[in-house]
């Protein structure tokens, strides 16, 4: 993290700090998401208690689970394509790590403020499908193969609405940089009332909805969890994985859930900025910014997981119909409307 410190750091020192920060943040974020939503929120929604024994209100359950995964033997089927099999979870995890690089958590709290920030995020998030396909193919298991091919098959059905949903935001902000998008929202006005800024959710509500729907598919969550589909494909592409490798998939999935919630919070809810924070730097903004972003991220994540726990699963061809007949035309209309408003006002 590029904090405004008095000392000047050399390039390699900065790089080390950034890499370390991302390496720490991804597992922590994943742990928080899993513990909060998968263990407790889901349990309470289903009128259960969830884990209660490990720590106060089961708060340490994830540590026990993590320790369990580390202890387990890493197995591979005899006919598996060994190298691809081992590489697949790493590819999925890599994609998640790269996502975190561009998400800003403060005026200088970003690993790399790329000019094409959001484009980069959406591009690297697609890499995970490659890992899923590799896992499905290399497992030498029919269920895994169907799961992997489903993941590849549904890729285009949701990637397109995902990108198109973002285009509206990009047009309105006039930049692809996530830091720029936060700035545009902070400096915006609601009918001349500029104190709260203009979170894009007010103007891009269609884009927000489309983004959340496409995110469900990106994260292979219900109603679009066909690649894992527990009741049909048992666990799809993950079926042959155990121990640490399985944990990698888990980290990848829920890390991405956090990253996409953070992206949605950044693009539609104003990101790390709240009224009173200095946009250009300063210690206060850098300290409070991450907390604000975290709160907004958890709010979006709650929405995402709420849908996950409630909805049944679509069929693969029904997803294609849904995407091509409804999501994509709607997102194109949204872009058109945004463009018109941008020119008129």
């Amino acid at each position: 993290m590029e904090l405004t410190l008095a000392i000047e750091l050399a390039y390699w020192q900065q790089l080390t700090v950034k890499v370390l920060a991302v390496l720490i943040i991804v597992p922590t974020a994943t742990a928080i998401i899993v513990q909060t939503f998968l263990f407790k929120v889901m349990a309470h929604m289903q009128s259960r208690l969830g884990p209660m024994e490990a720590g106060p209100h089961g708060a340490l359950q994830l540590m026990a689970d993590g320790a369990k995964f580390v202890q387990k033997e890493v197995l591979a089927p005899a006919r598996a394509d060994r190298r691809v099999f081992v590489l697949a979870p790493v590819v999925v995890l890599l994609s998640t790590f790269l996502l975190f690089v561009v998400i800003p958590a403060g005026p200088s709290g970003v690993a790399e403020d790329l000019d094409i920030g959001i484009f980069f995020a959406l591009a690297v998030s697609s890499i995970s499908v490659l890992g899923v396909l590799m896992a499905g193919w290399a497992s030498a298991n029919k269920y895994a193969l169907i799961g992997g091919l489903r993941a590849a098959g549904q890729l285009i059905a949701y990637e397109l609405p995902l990108v198109l949903a973002v285009v509206g935001v990009v047009i309105q902000a006039g930049t692809l940089s996530l830091q720029g998008i936060v700035r545009a929202q902070a400096e915006g006005e609601i009918f001349g009332f500029g104190l709260l800024g203009l979170p894009f959710v007010f103007t891009q509500f269609i884009g927000f909805a489309l983004f959340l729907i496409a995110t469900q598919a990106e994260l292979t969550q219900p109603p679009f969890d066909m690649p894992v589909a527990e009741s049909e494909l048992v666990a799809g592409y993950q079926v042959e994985y155990s121990g640490l490798q399985f944990l990698y998939f888990y980290l990848g999935e829920f890390g991405a859930a956090f990253a996409f919630s953070a992206l949605a919070a950044t693009m539609f809810l104003g990101g790390w900025w709240v009224p009173g924070l200095d946009l250009d730097g300063g210690l206060l903004s850098n300290l409070i910014g991450p907390a604000v972003l975290f709160a907004k991220t958890m709010a979006v994540a709650f929405l995402i997981f709420w849908i996950r726990f409630t909805y049944p699963r679509l069929r693969e061809d029904q997803l294609q119909t849904f995407a091509w007949k409804y999501l994509i035309p709607l997102s194109l209309l949204n872009i058109l409307a945004t463009g018109v408003f941008k020119v008129v006002f």
Binding site: S47, P222, E232, Q318
Partner: protein, 390 residues
């Protein structure tokens, strides 16, 4: 039946030819996918060998017997009271309903009639085991389609019904409460009022499922038009219960045959649905659960006083003869054909279980569907493995 199988044969040959053509043109190869015996969607140990082209099923063949426990043989070396505890393990979710037809068959042979109060309580518990059984289906269907929350609600509300069954019989799952000539014991004090409040909870649960699943667009797209079984096919394969009524056949043994049990005393309705698809099967079961709660309510209101046991000899010897008694169980028609030679135990018992016949339609109905629909259809046909294999 012949016409149906002829047409089916021709359709099958046509489909095979079409598949062969596709395979030659695209140089694709079919794949055999083995579902089960250990598969989360098979409720136990059913195995289905499917031949797939891509994700489309070319043929499917159910393999059963992984849970065969040999009840028909076991009952030959046991006395009648002992058999009672065996047969309630056939359909383990609606156990009490398994005991009733067997006891009725034995009573018919002995020419004993249980007193009215016993018959009323039998009917009440029969309907309560129907509720305990089908509530689980109503939630489980959600899980099979990916909506995990529904089943936890089902488990939560089924618990109230099981508590009442336990309070009356002493057994949560396997009551062993029915006796030749009556019941083991009378209902505990306060049971009637408590059961009424539980029935309200059951109706609330049905409303909840109606909003959570039936009203859900994704649930409808996943179930409407999936696994359509026309009425003549359903009759041809010997389907019974809600599976048959969902195909539009108005047939319910509770209404259509004379029985010592007292369904004729109360006002209720047989629900049918014309579509015959997975949605219809879910919908019919949902309505039946409500209807069962209404039946229980009415029976509780009119529960007569009196003894619960008829005069029965201390050592039960059933006179020689043959009897067939079947009832409308939660899963469909369940019957016992009891052959007695005048001993302490029966000479031979043939058990007709609904799931065995219901599952026989699987090869027909799975032809040409996609892999996710296999799960939908199997879930909506609703079978219990113990009921298939016995």
């Amino acid at each position: 039946m012949t016409a149906v199988s002829d047409r089916e044969q021709r359709a099958y040959i046509g489909a095979q030819a079409a598949d062969a053509r596709v395979n030659v043109e695209l140089e694709t190869d079919g794949m055999t996918l083995n579902l089960g015996p250990q598969h989360p969607a098979t409720h136990g140990t059913l195995r289905i060998i499917t031949r797939l082209d891509g994700e489309q099923v070319i043929s499917a063949e159910p393999v059963m017997g992984y849970m065969h426990r040999g009840y028909e043989k076991l009952v030959e070396v046991r006395t009648y009271p002992q058999i009672n505890t065996l047969v309630n393990r056939i359909d383990w979710l609606g156990s009490f309903a398994n005991e009733v037809p067997f006891i009725l068959a034995a009573e018919q042979l002995m020419e004993i009639e249980a007193p009215p109060r016993a018959q009323w309580i039998r009917t009440i518990l029969f309907e309560m085991s129907r509720i305990a059984n089908i509530t689980l289906f109503l939630g489980d269907m959600g899980v099979q389609l990916g909506a995990i929350t529904a089943v936890f609600y089902a488990f939560r509300d089924r618990e109230h019904v099981l508590n009442q069954i336990e309070a009356a019989t002493g057994g949560r799952f396997h009551p062993n409460y029915d006796r030749i000539g009556g019941l083991k014991e009378d209902l505990p004090r306060g049971w009637v009022a408590e059961t009424k409040s539980v029935m309200d909870k059951v109706r609330d649960f049905c409303d909840e499922m109606e909003t959570l699943l039936v009203g859900n667009e994704i649930f409808e797209t996943r179930t409407r038009g999936i696994g359509v079984i026309p009425a003549e096919v359903a009759l041809g394969y010997g389907l019974s219960g809600a599976n048959l009524r969902a195909s539009g056949v108005d047939w319910d043994l509770r209404r259509d045959q004379a029985s010592p049990l007292v369904w004729s005393e109360v006002d209720w309705k047989v629900w049918t649905h014309p579509d015959g698809d997975s949605f219809a099967r879910y919908w019919v079961r949902l309505q039946e659960t409500r209807e069962a709660a209404n039946i229980v309510d009415q029976l509780l209101d009119g529960l007569p006083a009196g003894p619960i046991m008829a005069k029965v000899p201390r050592i039960i010897k059933v006179p020689a003869g043959e009897a067939w008694v079947s009832t409308e169980n939660p899963l469909g028609e369940m019957g016992y054909y009891v052959v007695s030679k005048g001993d302490l135990g029966p000479f031979r018992v043939k058990i007709r279980t609904p799931s065995f016949n219901n599952i026989s339609v699987v090869p027909w109905v799975l032809k040409g569907v996609y892999v996710p629909d296999i799960i939908t259809i199997l879930a909506s046909l609703y079978f219990i493995l113990g009921d298939i294999d016995r």
